[in-house]
């Protein structure tokens, strides 16, 4: 925003919406303003005066702000007493920059809102109710973004907007005290309530309850309370909260939404949920607030950001003053007032973490992925297996289209369960195989309806009636349930497995046990870096941990070894040999496997030969000078070997460089950063040859899964090399600039886990749905030869498939919608099995129900995958725009149809989606969609493929990393310290923080951290002695060190990959990298800050609404 100011562009910008300009729209647009980048960089680099300057002040500011800031603010802007708070935001600015004052003046304009705001308080009561928390409740968050322009808008939408921000002050009136919480901008939140003024009358004051909550609430409580009762209708989003307040809640205006208050919801829960919805703060409102105030120091931190936005030049401010007020727009939105992921996560954790999640009820929204909870399977698949974007599906496609909420399920068929939960039971239906519907071939499941005394059953998916096979017949009890209901997992559980018969096997032959083939690059780079030796050493021990089925004594998996550079070396390690035999195949143009017997062996039988081989490999190639490698033939070789052995299996390929040797699949270096932000950017994500896609098909047909470990020192075209891995359901691991000392732990842990983890082979997955919807689109690492079957050569416990559904008919509210995901696979012991997951969803005729039963994390998972696939075919900018657009439509639809009527200036978010903007922003800022100069093409391709297989928990933390204040950790308990939001202003110089996103762990050390802490953690005496090259923390015997290490260990356990530990010292070079992950801040690469983005979203929504 400040940017705009500098540029002065005032005029130029003028074009669209002056107000918004403040937001760096340019950034969103994807067309950075010349000025913008500048400042941004400057800021980070530190060189820019603007940035630095502010910093120093910050220190002090932090402390001061509270006290200091307010005063001025109040003075100028806010007529109402509360304004002081609003100014808060401004206050910060002032600390840094005088200019800020200017904007302040604006407020008046916004004032108009104030009036509205008043009503807000209403909600308070809700806060209490919130305890009830049923998550689903929709809440309206009316964020007033800043009272912003809105104020004006409300009046006359357009022009004033800019000012709007300033105006937030207006809020104050409403919340009075509340506004304080939010700095000026935030006020909106509280204020949001404000806007509703109109609504107020109607009784719909605002959901804001939370915000307004405290102050007002007290006053209102009485009234509202009654309101609550009514809430049943709560369907209405905002309404829920409102209703109470107004009492009259039924308020006609709302009616649209509320009208049909879905009777379905048990009133109370509904309410509660809604309440929750109100900005997470609801619960904590009071404490928070109180905290906030005192916490002013936090605010102090805020100043940080503002300065960045401001151009140093602006400091003089004369100009600014001259500028039309609009340009000054400051969003002084209180970061604490906008929906906080941390808060939402914490709330869910405390509300739902304690009791098991029982899956018996249709359409239940499970706890968040960040919550630890146990699942009790009573007929629906555990959310660990399937999560949906919404658990309440619109009955018609029109509704679905209107809402734009994607209907998708994120399925992780082989997910690992915590030890407390039982694995799916294995059911054997005998020779005739699993009992299935005659028509749609759905498998027997709890939703099948037995009729005619149990002689037939009606399919819950297609309604076809099928005879019950004689051996399966059972009488029904008086309720129509089979008597053996509880004895049969397939009748009582959501997830179970069938033993497949020979009909389900390739070539009508039971499969042989799968094989693992280790294929090691032995070119110069690999040998020199010590990699080859490392791998060989590790393989010796790792082979004892191959996946076993159940309690088998030894793994059935056979192993084979190949090394390669320009040619391939196969090894005969037959147990009868005295020494291994090496067979060189140089005919890479036409790959074949030179031996049959002795290539794939049982580890125990050939132990000595294998050991001898692994000892010799590093020796044999110690003097190699071969630098070129091949790649295509390597996969072909593995594939051929599996073909020859007639089994499925997995290739572990350890590869170091771009395959430039003359061979099929030879690649050339086509990396070109100049393509970024052009229409040709997509080519960077596309494979440069179709060779690998074709190869992948063959691999899938054979059940040959490819796991790729990359150790590049330069570009090696992950986009192309990864194609086979990706399409066969494999994993890519990438260790750029691999160095033995620093990366070996990470690599070895990854390798161990990758080798040991549960995996199925030669898998085919099909998702069946009840009539009315249909699985139409699939995202993930797999191959599809038709439109319905997802084929995966290998599928491990971490792989996730996201499936999108579309309507092709109407659904009925009564019968709901059912999903059955059937996965046919070969277990690691070579047993052919079917894993079935069933899930029943509700259907709704009211959009409000949809919005109340959404899950944002899953939604983001889908959106991210959708977008990441989009970059293959469209320019990145288009992808981002469409993402923004879709989300804006989702929110606008809500606003239009579900939220209580309120001023357009109010940003109202459904409770379940209140984090959508912040998460979406993270997706938009991710390296794939908005790369910084330091992000390599390979990294982007790598991340792109990685994300495509991620489950919800992984995408959640990947896009919104977890930031833990280590210094706040309770040394004596097992628990993690409470996470904080990803913003630099939340960091204190005196603390140490840990940030993890599933790939990396950063330990950030502030400059003012106590020496004792540093000594305890790093074993050095001062900040300056901390080595930033550490890849692990030293093992020190003191509580703090132990605690931190145990935290790190715990995090490692939660993630499917071993994260890279990076020590970041404040103000060190690496900090830039670290800051990249502070996703609520504006990013170096032009990514918007949370606040900015929220404003932008708001603008988009408003445009849609008007």
């Amino acid at each position: 925003m400040s940017v705009n100011q500098h540029t002065h562009a005032g005029p130029p910008y003028g074009q669209p919406q002056p107000g918004y300009q403040g937001y760096q729209q340019p950034a969103y647009g994807g067309q950075p303003l010349p000025g913008v980048p500048h400042t941004q960089y400057g800021a980070y680099n530190g060189p820019m005066p603007g940035y630095q300057q502010p910093v120093p002040p910050q220190g002090s500011v932090r402390a001061l702000p509270t006290s200091g800031a307010p005063p001025p603010a109040s003075g100028t802007s806010l007529p109402s007493g509360h304004q002081g708070y609003s100014q808060f935001g401004q206050g910060d600015v002032q600390n840094g920059i005088p200019t800020s004052t200017a904007p302040m003046q604006r407020p008046p304009a916004s004032q108009p809102f104030l009036p509205g705001s008043a009503p807000a308080p209403v909600s308070q009561p809700s806060t209490f109710q919130q305890y009830g928390p049923p998550p689903s409740s929709v809440q309206q968050l009316s964020n007033h973004m800043a009272g912003m322009t809105i104020g004006s808008t409300s009046i006359s939408a357009p022009p004033p907007a800019g000012l709007g921000y300033g105006p937030p002050t207006s809020v104050p009136p409403v919340s009075g005290s509340f506004s304080a919480t939010g700095s000026g901008l935030y006020a909106p939140y509280t204020a949001s309530q404000g806007p509703p003024p109109p609504s107020v009358p109607q009784g719909l004051p605002l959901a804001q309850p939370p915000f307004s909550g405290q102050p007002v609430p007290t006053q209102r409580l009485p009234t509202e309370v009654p309101g609550f009762a009514p809430p049943p209708s709560s369907t209405g989003i905002g309404p829920s909260s409102y209703p109470p307040s107004t009492g009259p809640h039924p308020g006609p205006p709302m009616s649209g939404l509320h009208g049909p208050p879905p009777p379905t919801h048990p009133p109370q829960p509904g309410y509660q949920m809604q309440q929750n919805g109100s900005f997470g703060q609801v619960r904590g409102p009071q404490p928070n607030y109180s905290g906030a105030y005192p916490g002013t120091p936090n605010y102090g931190s805020q100043p940080g950001p503002p300065p960045k936005r401001l151009d140093p030049d602006s400091i003089p401010s004369p100009q600014l003053n001259e500028l039309p007020p609009q340009q000054k727009p400051r969003h002084r939105i209180d970061p604490d007032a906008i929906p906080s992921p941390i808060q939402v996560i914490e709330d869910d954790r405390s509300n739902r973490g304690s009791e098991p999640f029982v899956t018996g009820v249709r359409g239940q929204v499970p706890p968040l992925v960040t919550t630890n909870f146990l699942v009790e399977d009573q007929g629906n698949a555990s959310p660990r297996y399937i999560r949906c974007t919404s658990y309440n599906i619109p009955c018609t496609s029109d509704m679905a289209k209107q809402s734009q909420v994607p209907l998708a399920a994120v399925i992780k068929p082989l997910a690992t369960l915590p030890p407390e939960e039982t694995l799916p039971y294995l059911v054997d239906h005998g020779e005739s195989g699993p009992v299935r519907c005659n028509r749609c071939k759905a498998y027997m499941c709890p939703f099948m309806q037995f009729i005619e005394g149990g002689r037939r059953f009606q399919c819950c998916f297609c309604s076809c009636v099928t005879e019950v096979p004689a051996h399966y017949f059972q009488h029904l009890d008086h309720t129509g349930k089979r008597v053996d209901f509880y004895d049969r997992p397939e009748l009582s559980l959501g997830s179970y497995e069938f033993l497949a018969t020979v009909d389900y096997c390739k070539n009508n032959k039971f499969p042989s046990p799968p094989a693992f083939i280790f294929m090691i690059d032995v070119s110069y780079n690999a040998v020199k870096s010590g990699l080859v030796r490392l791998i060989c050493e590790e393989l010796k021990s790792i082979l004892d941990y191959l996946p076993r089925e159940g309690n088998m004594e030894e793994s059935a998996i056979r192993v084979g070894f190949v090394t390669y550079n320009k040619v391939l070396h196969f090894y005969n390690v037959k147990s009868s040999l005295a020494q291994p035999q090496m067979m060189v195949v140089s005919d890479v143009a036409d790959m074949f496997v030179p031996l049959l017997d002795g290539f794939l062996v049982n580890v125990n039988e050939s132990r000595t030969v294998i050991a001898s081989l692994l000892d010799q490999i590093p020796e044999m190639f110690a003097d190699t000078r071969e630098t070129e490698t091949v790649f295509g033939p390597v996969i072909q070789a593995g594939l051929e070997a599996l073909k020859a052995a007639e089994c499925a299996g997995k290739l572990f390929i350890f590869h170091t460089s771009l395959p430039i040797a003359e061979a099929p699949g030879k690649l050339k270096n086509r990396d070109d950063k100049k393509l970024i932000n052009t229409d040709k950017e997509k080519t960077l994500f596309q494979p440069q040859t179709s060779f690998y896609s074709n190869l992948a098909k063959d691999c899938v047909a054979q059940g040959c899964c490819v796991d790729l470990f990359l150790f590049p020192n330069q570009y090696l075209d992950v986009a192309t090399l990864g194609v086979v891995t990706y399409q066969t359901g494999g994993s890519i691991y990438k260790y750029a600039y691999f160095q033995l000392e620093t990366d070996q732990d990470r690599f070895l842990n990854d390798l161990r886990r990758d080798v040991q983890k549960e995996v199925g082979f030669d898998a085919v997955m099909r998702v069946r749905t009840s009539t009315g919807i249909r699985a139409t689109d699939f995202f993930g690492a797999f191959y599809m030869s038709n439109t319905t079957d997802v084929e995966m050569a290998g599928l491990d416990c971490d792989k996730t498939i996201t499936v999108e559904f579309k309507h092709d008919d109407k659904l009925s509210e009564d019968s709901g919608a059912l999903l059955q995901c059937a996965l046919l696979y070969t277990s690691c012991a070579g047993q052919r099995r079917l894993r079935i997951h069933n899930l029943s969803l509700n259907c709704c005729t009211q959009l409000a129900d949809l919005y109340r039963n959404c899950e944002t994390d899953t939604l983001i998972n889908y959106l991210a995958k959708y977008a990441y696939r989009g970059v293959l075919n469209s320019p990145v900018k288009a992808v981002r725009d469409s993402l923004i657009n879709q989300c804006a439509q989702i929110l606008a639809c809500y606003r239009k149809n579900c939220a209580s009527p309120s001023s357009a200036g109010q940003l109202i978010l459904p409770e379940c989606m209140k984090l959508l903007p912040v998460y979406l922003n993270c997706v938009l800022k991710s390296d794939v969609l908005q790369p910084g100069p330091e992000v390599t093409t390979d990294d982007r391709a790598y991340i792109r493929q990685l994300v495509t297989s991620m489950d919800v928990a992984e995408t959640n933390v990947f896009f919104y990393p977890r930031l833990l204040p280590l210094t706040k950790a309770d040394v004596d308990s097992d628990s993690l310290p409470a996470a904080i939001r990803n913003s630099e202003e939340r960091l204190s110089k005196g603390d140490i923080y840990l940030l993890e996103n599933g790939l990396n762990i950063f330990v950030w050390v502030g400059v003012n951290v106590q020496q004792a802490l540093i000594q305890n953690l790093f074993g050095v005496s001062s900040f300056s002695q901390i080595s930033s090259t550490l890849s692990t923390l030293p093992v020190l015997e003191n509580p703090f060190s132990k605690k931190v290490r145990s935290i790190i260990d715990m995090l490692h356990l939660q993630r499917s990959r071993y994260m890279k530990l990076i020590i970041v010292k404040q103000e060190d070079k690496l900090e830039m990298l670290f800051k990249h992950f502070l996703v609520e801040d504006k990013s170096l690469t032009g990514g918007a800050s949370y606040v900015d983005f929220l404003c932008h979203m708001h603008k988009e929504i408003r445009q849609l609404l008007s």
Binding site: V585, F592, Q616
Partner: protein
């Protein structure tokens, strides 16, 4: 008469040369009327224990187109230290080293007894002999085991410094690296893809690596010497290694389903072997020894598909043009053979299987390179084992009986030109003034390359008399021929053997009787047979027979004495008397008759026929039959059914088979066990005598003949019965001599018996 016989014998012993005519008709016209061409059988390396090689360079005629070697026929002017070349009449100075020359102090090459002389010369680096084993692994377990043992045994027979390499093949081809410790390493190729020499060398890492352009890394010491040695190592160094490696050799592991032949990539395996040597040791003595137990079934050079239900091609198929793979396969092997020959290497084929193995297609590999071809039923037979062992036999002076990379050059005096050669050689395409335009055998050149040869290897060389009838040769003029054979001795020395011979010219009109008397009918028979066999390779069988018959008739016309229309008046002089008989058996021999022989067998027989010396060749044409009885000492008897008598033991040597046949009575006696009775010890001795004689033959024969011991009525007696002249058949058993024989044979019958 006796003189000519002696002369011929002497000449053969001294020079290893047998001419069809020992007095030459002096004009082209007369020569052609002689029917049997002027030609000779040359055994270039005939063992001459009495011939000490001289250790200096031969002296050459200085005329660039001549370069004949100084020989006893040259006129020498001792005073002027000049010598006149007897081929081009160029007068040459002796080199300085010959300054001390005089009538009494002659260098060896001027002494008449040194018409054949051997020089040891220093040329180029000496490289050890190379043996590259190419081993089929699609064998039955027993066979493979036997083969492995033979190979292991052979290591001890090789010269210690010889380089040895191993390629194994089945469905794939493995080139074994022999120098690896701790892990055995091999390069593997698929058997279905033909590779160029360059590709093979690249894949084996043999091509000189383009100097790697890697900055900052100092180049290691040049790896030049190492290059070749990865696959070819001195026996003494990797003796143990290779023994172990051979010991661990497994049967081809790829499953062979019911009704299929194993996939055998012989074609590519050979190609790789050739490529390997080509890249590493061009133009040095090397043997590629192919051991195969079945037909090539895949890839280039495949001879039959892997479906057992389609049998391998027979002569019938070939005549009907039904042999799908034959042309392509033959072409593949021919290309290989030519490449090998160009590189101076030779290919041996040891094919042991009950069915055919594709020798027909592969024959050129051995034929063009001078390699051995051995055919047997199994590697687990003494036939193979001893034959293989005999490859490494040493000669009288303790040297291996093998030589490599020979280059045979023939020089003639002006009246003669060279028409061609037939034998295990390839043309070097050296044209010159003494090369005739008419080709007999491999012609159009005066030089041939014989990549592998032993002391028995014999070439037939055909000449043409070009002197015009109206330009008589001066009285007493002699025609001369010089054979210069440069070769790599088994001791790796380079040697040159020079043989110079001269024969008198005679005017056929006035001195026909001289010419007639000097006719060498044995040599002539073999030379004609070689021509016939050579033609048979490319022409229809009947055509060849017809041609042979016509030649015989013309010869008889020319030299026979008879009254018109009176068959009984026909007489041939003694020097021609055996010739018709040879021709008779030749017609019946497996070299010209394919009936009852598989194409592989025919190829095998013809191969040997084209390289053995005169004696062995004659045995092949007309097997020898000895009779043992109580009526006297063993005696040669007619190869005729009439020789089969109940109280005789017959020993037949056909070169390829040795058959001992007990007459009916003898067999009964033996069954009755008389030989075990002391009083019938003489019978025991009678039984033993042919066995001992057979052993003697077996000792020296290469390849080992099939040894058959049978008796009257035994199934194996067919070997004998098929060879003898069927003068007694079921038709004339009681009326022998009444002309029941097939039409043409009858004509000669009387004359042979007369002889």
């Amino acid at each position: 008469m006796a003189t000519y016989l002696e002369f011929i014998q002497q000449n053969e012993e001294r020079d290893g040369v047998r001419f069809s005519w020992n007095v030459w008709p002096s004009s082209r016209l007369e020569a052609t009327r002689m029917v049997v061409p002027l030609a000779c059988l040359l055994t270039p390396l005939r063992e001459r224990p009495d011939l000490p090689p001289v250790q200096y360079e031969p002296v050459l005629c200085s005329r660039a187109t001549c370069k004949a070697v100084l020989n006893p026929l040259c006129q020498v002017d001792y005073r002027a230290k000049l010598w006149a070349c007897n081929f081009c009449f160029q007068r040459n100075q002796f080199p300085p080293a010959y300054a001390g020359i005089s009538e009494v102090n002659q260098p060896a090459e001027l002494m008449p007894q040194f018409s054949t002389i051997e020089y040891i010369v220093q040329r180029g680096p000496q490289t050890p002999l190379i043996f590259l084993y190419v081993v089929d692994t699609c064998l039955e377990e027993e066979d493979l085991q036997a083969l492995k043992e033979s190979l292991q045994m052979s290591l001890s027979l090789l010269p210690a410094d010889a380089l040895v390499g191993l390629i194994t093949f089945g469905r794939m081809i493995q080139v074994h690296e022999l120098s690896c410790e701790g892990i055995s390493k091999s390069y593997v190729f698929r058997g279905t893809k033909d590779l160029t020499a360059k590709q093979i060398q690249d894949m084996l890492g043999l091509s000189r690596p383009a100097v790697p352009i890697q900055q900052g890394r100092p180049l290691q010491a040049p790896e030049q010497p190492v290059i070749s040695s990865r696959f070819l190592q001195p026996v003494h160094k990797i003796d143990m290694n290779l023994t172990d490696l051979l010991g661990e050799l497994q049967r081809d592991p790829w499953p062979v389903t019911q009704g299929k032949r194993p996939l055998r990539s012989t074609g590519v395996a050979l190609s790789i072997a050739v490529g390997l040597l080509e890249g590493t040791f061009p133009n040095t003595g090397a043997r590629i020894m192919l051991f195969t137990g079945g037909p090539p079934t895949q890839g280039p050079g495949m001879v039959v598909g892997d479906e057992l239900k389609t049998p391998i091609r027979s002569w019938h198929d070939i005549e009907k043009d039904n042999a799908r793979f034959m042309k392509k396969a033959t072409k593949h092997y021919e290309t290989l053979a030519n490449r090998t020959a160009t590189n101076g290497h030779c290919i041996d084929i040891y094919a042991c299987a009950l069915d055919q193995t594709g020798l027909l297609e592969m024959k050129c590999c051995a034929n063009l390179t001078g390699g051995h071809m051995v055919m047997g039923d199994s590697f687990n037979t003494s036939l193979f084992k001893q034959t293989f062992q005999r490859v490494f036999n040493k000669g009288l002076n303790g040297e291996f009986r093998m030589a490599f990379g020979a280059n045979l050059e023939v020089k003639t005096s002006r009246e003669l030109k060279i028409a061609g050669a037939i034998g295990p050689c390839v043309s070097l395409n050296v044209k010159g003034p003494c090369v005739s335009e008419n080709e007999l055998g491999i012609g159009g050149t005066s030089q041939w390359k014989i990549c592998g040869l032993d002391p028995c290897t014999t070439l037939a060389i055909y000449f043409e008399v070009v002197n015009q009838h109206n330009a008589p040769i001066p009285q007493g003029g002699r025609g001369a021929v010089q054979f210069v054979t440069q070769y790599q001795h088994s001791s790796t020395q380079k040697r040159i053997r020079v043989t110079t011979i001269a024969r008198n010219w005679a005017d056929a009109q006035s001195q026909l009787q001289h010419i007639e008397a000097a006719f060498d009918q044995e040599a002539a028979a073999v030379l004609m047979a070689r021509l016939g066999v050579y033609r048979a390779e490319s022409e229809e069988g009947p055509d060849v027979l017809r041609w042979l018959d016509r030649q015989l008739i013309r010869l008889c016309q020319k030299f026979g004495q008879y009254n018109k229309d009176d068959p009984n008046s026909f007489r041939l002089s003694e020097s021609f008397s055996l010739y018709p008989q040879f021709m008779f058996h030749l017609r019946r021999s497996p070299f010209l008759q394919v009936f009852n022989n598989s194409p592989d067998e025919s190829s095998y027989y013809r191969h040997h026929f084209a390289r053995q010396d005169l004696t062995q060749s004659l045995i092949m044409i007309q097997p020898i039959l000895y009779a043992y009885s109580f009526h006297g000492p063993p005696e040669p008897v007619l190869l005729d059914s009439s020789s089969i008598l109940p109280d005789r033991i017959l020993l037949m040597d056909t070169f390829f088979q040795i058959v001992i046949y007990l007459g009916e009575t003898i067999a009964q006696w033996q069954k009755a066990g008389y030989q075990d009775m002391p009083e019938y010890e003489n019978f025991k001795h009678l039984l033993q005598a042919p066995l001992d004689d057979a052993q003697e033959i077996l000792q020296t024969r290469f390849p080992m003949p099939r040894y058959v011991h049978t008796e009257h009525g035994g199934s194996q007696a067919r070997f004998l019965l098929s060879k003898v002249n069927p003068s007694q058949t079921h038709n004339n058993l009681y009326a022998w001599g009444q002309g029941g024989c097939p039409s043409r044979g009858a004509a000669e019958q009387p004359s042979t018996s007369a002889a």
